[in-house]
Amino acid sequence: MSSVDSTGAEKPRHKASRAPRTPMSERPAKERARDFGEVGMGYTQEEAIAEANRCLQCRNATCIEGCPVNIDIKSFIGHIIDGEWSQGVAVLKERNALPAVCGRVCPQEEQCEIACVLSKKGEPVAIGRLERYLGDYDLACEIDHRCVPEVADPSGRRCAVVGSGPAGLACAGELARLGHAVTIFESLHAPGGVLTYGIPEFRLPMQIVETEIEMLTQMGVEIITDTVVGATVTLEELRTTEGFDAVFIGNGAGLPVFMGIPGENLNGVYSANEFLTRVNLMGAYDFPKADTPVWRGRKVAVVGGGNVAMDAARTALRLGAEEVFLAYRRTQDEMPARREEVHHAQQEGVEFKMLCSPVEIVGSDGFVTGFTATRMELGEPDASGRRAPVCVMDSEFTIECDTVIMAVGTRANPLLSNAAPDLELTSRGYIVADETGATNLEGIYAGGDIVTGAATVILAMGAGKRAAQAMDGWLKDLS
């Protein structure tokens, strides 16, 4: 049997290698835990080819179903096998504007890779790493050799995109490709959303995000920073005085949640958002060279068990903390963080205190000195399907620390919606949108965390792209 590629040409049958999954080299934990350089080094060309050769090029490529944006995984891996890097990049970019980003931060192990036929034996093709390889290949090219999507003839329509996180960037890229003039309005001074202010450099180098954004500007997308929609300009004004034909809202879910326990406003208690923003966006790791300070704890407690908690804990280590531990109310099995991140955090020396829930933060002279927690045990499964933590009576104990970072979730920020009273919201303040991203207001679309609640980069990008296509249809109907 031979396989047929997209051009219809016959190719010799691919003979899959039976080698074990190709490891990706990482900087040693001891070394990397003290700086902000990237942890994973990426595949070399030989490694990428070796790994690609493990792919069976299945006739029924189940992996594709596992990817939320249905990247043609089989085809891009096929191009790696054949050494056709640019073609591989092009396949990725049909569905995913930021492969170098997703290859690094996507929860692959529970999406595409778990759906790979080889995962039954516990050794799925390392799809994420291969995606990263091609993404990096593309980024390393001179800008005019990069795979810049073809831009359609100008449609004469103007679109506004609110927020420059993954949802906004993907939407803007797709709209530009379809020939619309796009302006992104971003409230912070730098674009990128969580990719810029949240996810730390050691997981996602800033340079990657910057280069990807540069490509959007090459495609004609205009980015206006320092503009808070809902304050500097309202949603309605974007449509009226500012003259945009359609608007996409991708403002994320960036309002930090606290636990509401006593002592939470002591000095030394941070939301993960504040802590990470100070370090990543404001460059506090470089204080006093950069002007923004951050409280550098010696003994740091992080409350939570998601990616955000891991990022905060590992960042605290890199700022020089002697001891960093994580307090999580369930056990490691229930942690929502990616396994790889948990593993890296442990390697680097982050200590996990499981089944532990803070009830009060204590301090003296206004500064944190520790917290009191209760022991938890796991009860019956709750709505999320995970076993719910229950307090153990009279089990309170105290832990010493000088910093507490709360990574217990985020909510919708009402700044934009407060100034748009007609926009339909859920009871918790998220924007109501259908699967195309359409809101109850004509010409106004939304997607990403502001619709789904805190989720993932790839889901936000998928939503942004789908909305762009719906907006395109709507704009065509206008004329």
Partner: protein, 279 residues
């Protein structure tokens, strides 16, 4: 980039500055603030609008030189630019239907008090401005306040070098005691606002305060600006900056303002060392 179009020194350490920012100028209201960043690597700091012109597309603020960023700002001149200016942020001050109102501006707080007093007077309130400072040299905007229609001005200095020798709480207590005010609003250092709120409360007069917690983004995404009001945590930047002074936990505010004092001293010392001109 936001071009500086106006600069004026009001006292030894206080400056007024105007920048071109047409979108912001169109929206600014009394009591709201902006966040600015001078250059790459700079800190984002909040400053309240002291004035604005939608027509000419500029906003102004008045700042006191206290640390590195405000030092650097004081060195800039008309024609220079700020890298980032964002706003208007915060909930505008409530200025309608206040009847007879005392607006207390302590130190650089007078800058914030100015547009507030002006807006209150324009909305039909009878405004008495109480300006306080350590001494006459530190008193700012007195002439501007006196030039406002419908505004009376009372001056108090710690050393008596201008107006009466007293803290601002003295005239405030007097007016509240005599029943000549229905409302009060205090703007200035936390300690001053605390005592103003206390004095007003003793006489049953409501007192709004404009809080100045440390901020990072100013848009509700970090929580640096947490303040406790009536036992509840609020975000100063989006829920405020104005709050009911009777209910604010001022001790916590003052404690939280001190978190980075050592770092701030370090940053400013480094800056002064590098900085050729001398202050």
């Amino acid at each position: 980039m936001f071009r500086i179009v106006h600069k004026r020194q009001l006292s030894d350490a206080v400056f007024e500055m105007g920048v071109e920012a047409p979108r912001i100028a169109e929206k600014a209201r009394a009591g709201q603030f902006l966040m600015l960043r001078i250059a790459e690597g700079g800190e984002r700091i909040p400053l309240t609008f002291s004035d604005w012109s939608a027509q000419d597309g500029w906003v102004r603020f008045i700042f006191m030189r206290v640390g590195k960023t405000t030092h650097e700002l004081a060195h800039l001149e008309v024609g220079d630019s700020l890298l980032d200016v964002v706003g208007p942020l915060g909930v505008p001050t409530h200025v309608d239907g206040l009847g007879r109102v005392a607006v207390i501006g302590g130190g650089v707080g007078a800058a914030v008090a100015y547009p507030v007093a002006r807006a209150m007077a324009a909305a039909g309130s009878e405004v008495t401005v109480i300006l306080g400072a350590r001494n006459a040299d530190l008193l700012i905007l007195e002439d501007e306040f006196r030039a406002l229609d419908g505004v009376d001005v009372v001056v108090a200095t710690d050393d008596g070098s201008a107006g009466e020798k007293a803290l601002v709480t003295a005239p405030l207590g007097r007016m509240a005691g005599e029943g000549t005010i229905d409302n009060a609003m205090a703007i200035g250092p936390a300690i001053m606002m605390k005592f103003c709120a206390q004095t007003a409360r003793e006489h049953g007069v409501p007192c709004v305060v404009s809080l100045n917690p440390i901020m990072v983004d100013g848009t509700g995404m970090c929580g640096a600006c947490r303040v406790t009001v009536d036992g509840e945590t609020k975000f100063g930047c989006v829920d405020g900056p104005d709050f009911d002074g009777w209910k604010v936990d001022f001790e916590e505010l003052m404690s939280r303002q001190r978190i980075y004092v050592d770092d701030e001293r370090l940053a400013d010392a480094e800056y002064s060392r590098e900085c050729s001109c001398h202050l």
